[in-house]
Amino acid sequence: MKQILSRIKHKWIGYRNRWLNKRIPAENTFNLDLGNTFILPSSFGWTMIAIVLFLFILGTNYQNNIVLGMSYFFIALGLLSLFHSYAFFTQHTIDFLPFEAEFANRDLQLKCHISTQQKYLGGEITLYGYGQSKTYSLSHKGERQLLQLPLRQLQRGLHECERIKIETLYGFGLFRCWSYLQPKHQILVYPAIQKAPIQLHRHLDEDESDYDTANQTVASDNLQGIRNFVDTDPLHHVSWKHVAKGQGLMTKDFTQSAGLSGWVRLSDFGHGDEEMGLRILSYQVQQLYKDNAEFGVDLGKTKILPQTGFDHLQKCLFRLATHGQASEPPEHLNHA
């Protein structure tokens, strides 16, 4: 039974969203107006309609003009409430702010600015979305206000934002005005973080046996990585192993002066559980960024060339997030 109900609900939401996509396409700024506003009596409003009927019958049967007058009063009040609620709702403009990327195990915030034409002050507004809801008291000064809705339990990836329902009950709470708005901004969720020791490959085509030794040293205490020898480097920092292999003069770089470089590889982690691997990489790229390392990421098909810097980190995280998804990085990452 529950299943059937949830399936019906699912179907209904799908149908509704298709209809809404035609009628209220995704946008980042919405002026609430006739085209995107829904209005119906609230449960209190429906009860009031029933009461009006009841009062009318009571007044008629007892031939009591005062009770009849009372029922007309509620009709009048309902009528006015209808228009006032609508006018209150449509005086608002909603500006969705771009989402800040977050990790899957943390709450992402949907943020939007709401501003009014100051026709009606005060009131409350409720945001619904992703199974969450939050009610805000609107400022009585009519200034721009920031609303936030925490989005919980999002999967990694680049998502379209769901339709967010925003609702107001103005006046005596007789009418519910609402709209389903979809921000154009996309939600980027990085894989959650899973700690694991860093395995840095020096070369993309390096085989198993190779990284072991290199990495043992790397992973040890405050050693940060290996870099090309500079004249000022002390001799006891030279990695003689590399010299022996004919790779030239290299310096073992300790904490004070990072300069580690290499590749992290998805296939190294998770033991077949790709999500787990992505989570581990998500941790590692951040660590490597913090260590100021020059690192590349090997995700099998996708490879990101070694580089340093925040933009690079973002790019890597983006690729990790969208691994397996067909998506283009957003504009600001492309510029990087």
Partner: protein, 659 residues
């Protein structure tokens, strides 16, 4: 449902509990005592709640309490009428919800209960002052509803806003009130086991368990000569000749005039003017024996054999007439065998104990006065009491009244005495009318509905019809000091007292104020409470000349149109119409570019925006646009006075460059 924080709960909680208390207050006679206890507890809980957050009651406890209350209600429902059980049910429901008050849905439920309670209150009381009282409660309740979604608005601002909404609703309500056609009762209403005093052409004492007393004005008498003392003020209105064992009713021939010859009256005449409120019957009021001197207006007032005054038709307008009453003249002008038999008639069966008792007391050879004395022994001997809340007496009502309950009001006493007199062979009948009245000053007497009274007349050969009032024996104060002296405190609550300033008669301002209040009250009753199909018809006739389907439709459409115009006046966005944005050539360019699919970013200047577009434009477009933008800047910030026409032309050339 959204749970409210302590802060949000505070003011609405207090307001709502106060509204609840005040709306229950005028109905306190109807509320059962155990409901009072629950009521006080729930108010206490709410106040405790808003002062300090307390733990909510367990659901199980609440449910048990609810079931217990419902059982109690069921148990007592038999003793009370349907309407009062309903009121008690509403109060109980409200109390239980007050105890669990937590979410906005709880508030809404209590508000709904309050609306119902107020509607019930209006069924009992419709005077202007109480209407205002209930209206205030209703508005406060609505204000509470407003507070629930007020957001960060202050309480004062919320009050202003909700007052604005209510004020806007008023004219619409009035228009609807005038317009919506009045329907006859859709079905028999749940019998309100309560009746209001006043006049009716039948009296069934056993059927009334709760005599609610209305303070509405029945008539005013302005004495031209000296007014008679209180115990002489028996205002005759309806004479009831027929009795079927349960109900007294008027004779079919009551309105016959043929057998009413002129009569000679003796003694001094008491002259007075009557201003009678319409009473839905043809009967008017007078002291015995009336001779109509003058009638104001084009109506006639007749007198019949039972010395009653009546009009040709039931009128909705007040009647005004001057009467000479010959108080000392005997009522011995009309008695025929037919009348005598009619007033001796008793049903063959029923009320057996009374029959037995009367036959024991009376022997055929007794004189009329002795018989009367013997019968009256009943009221002297046993302990009778006067009450407005007698038990119901459905079967053999006179037996039950005389031998079982011995509690009742005037109709009970009069009915049983008249019956016993008939049984003992004395012609007797019931007279319904008003007794007493309140002297407003030296010569103006107001008689209200709660002054309604019933007494007995018996025929004594040689003397004529004599008045005897059994209620006077049981409650002698009733005659001299009025109703309030003869009932208990509890019962006097049943009586709606009119707003009374008669104690301040000496001060002229108060006297004027009183007249003014009386006038308002009168207007209220006439225009609002009595507004019905006929009034609507009169209104349409007045406006359109005639009443037919067409004028009715026009009338309704006109009023609906007025409502629409009113709403339009409130809601149309004039401000945006009349304060048009000033002419800006820049925004015109932006509109044009937007149509091409390029939109300026929020914090971009016009210059930057155009620069950004450059790679997508051809040379000609680029030139046209940058020229336009240059002039725009010059127009806005410099002292360049390019005419609007020039801008239009330039814009046109930009447009053509895109073709």
């Amino acid at each position: 449902m959204r749970e409210l924080s302590l802060n949000q709960l505070k003011v609405p909680g207090i307001l709502l509990s106060l509204c609840f208390a005040f709306s229950v207050f005028p109905m306190h006679a109807t509320i059962m005592s155990w409901v009072w206890i629950l009521f006080l507890c729930s108010i206490a809980v709410v106040w405790a709640k808003v002062i300090k957050k307390i733990k909510p009651l367990k659901t199980v406890t609440m449910n048990l309490l609810a079931i217990f209350c419902m059982l109690l209600l069921l148990l007592f429902s038999g003793q009370f009428g349907l309407l009062s059980t309903m009121i008690n049910l509403l109060v109980v429901a409200g109390c239980l919800k007050l105890i669990t008050l937590r979410t906005s849905a709880d508030f809404h439920l209590i508000i709904i209960v309050l609306v119902f309670l107020i509607a019930c209150g209006f069924i009992y009381h419709q005077q202007l002052l109480l209407t205002l009282y209930y209206g205030t409660i209703l508005f406060t309740t609505l204000y509470t509803a407003f507070l629930l979604n007020k957001g960060s608005l202050s309480h004062t601002d919320s009050a202003k806003q909700s007052a604005k909404l209510i004020m806007q609703a008023m004219p619409i309500m009035l228009l609807l009130f005038v317009m919506v056609p009045r329907l006859p009762p859709l079905w028999e209403s749940a019998a309100q086991k309560s009746s209001s005093t006043g006049l009716s052409e039948t009296i069934t004492p056993g059927d009334i368990a709760n005599l609610a007393q209305s303070g509405e004005l029945a008539f005013r008498a302005e004495f031209i000569s000296k007014p008679p003392p209180p115990q002489e003020r028996y205002w005759r209105s309806i004479v009831l000749d027929n009795f079927d064992g349960m109900t007294w009713s008027i004779d079919n021939e009551a309105f016959m005039l043929e057998r009413t010859p002129e009569i000679v009256l003796e003694g001094e005449a008491t002259k007075y003017l009557i201003v009678a409120e319409p009473n839905n019957t043809r009967w008017q009021y007078s002291l015995d024996i009336p001779v109509v001197d003058k009638v104001v207006g084009n109506r006639q007032i007749f007198r019949n054999q039972s010395y009653q005054l009546f009009t040709q038709e039931v009128s909705k307008q007040p009647s005004l007439y001057i009467v000479n009453s010959y108080l000392s003249s005997p009522l011995n002008h009309f008695i025929t065998d037919y009348e005598r038999n009619k007033n001796l008639h008793v049903p063959q069966e029923g009320n057996q104990r009374t029959r037995d008792w009367v036959s024991q007391q009376i022997s055929a050879d007794m004189q009329t006065q002795d018989k009367l004395r013997a019968v009256m022994q009943m009221f002297f001997k046993d302990k009778f009491s006067y009450t407005l809340q007698p038990p119901l007496m459905k079967v053999n009502p006179i037996d039950e009244f005389l031998f079982t309950h011995r509690r009742g009001f005037c109709s009970h006493y009069a009915s049983s005495l008249a019956y016993m007199l008939r049984l003992s062979g004395i012609p007797a009948r019931l007279v319904a009318g008003y007794q007493g009245g309140e002297l407003q000053n030296d010569n103006i007497l107001t008689v209200r509905q709660y002054d309604a009274h019933a007494w007995v007349e018996y025929w004594l050969d040689g003397r004529g019809w004599l008045r005897i009032d059994p209620t006077a024996i049981v409650a002698p104060n009733r005659l001299v000091d009025g109703l309030f002296s003869s009932i208990t405190q509890n019962e006097s609550d049943l009586v709606e007292r009119p707003f009374n300033l008669s104690g301040f008669n000496d001060i002229p301002v108060i006297g004027q104020l009183r007249d003014w209040l009386v006038m308002i009250d009168h207007q209220w009753t006439q225009t609002v409470l009595r507004y019905d199909q006929d009034s609507q018809r009169d209104l349409i006739k007045k406006w359109f000349g005639e009443f037919n389907a067409k004028s009715m439709t026009t009338f309704m459409l006109a009023i609906l149109g007025t409502i629409v115009v009113f709403l339009t006046l409130i809601f149309l966005p004039y401000k945006t119409w009349f304060t048009r944005a000033p002419y800006s050539p820049a925004s015109q360019l932006l509109t044009l570019l937007k149509k091409k699919g390029w939109e300026k970013r929020k914090h971009e200047t016009l210059e930057d925006f155009v620069k950004r577009l450059q790679p997508r434009l051809n040379t000609k477009q680029r030139q046209q646009i940058s020229h336009y933008v240059e002039r725009c800047y010059a127009h806005q910030y410099g002292n360049d006075n390019t005419a609007r026409v020039d801008f239009q032309a330039m814009l046109q050339s930009v447009k053509t460059s895109f073709r």
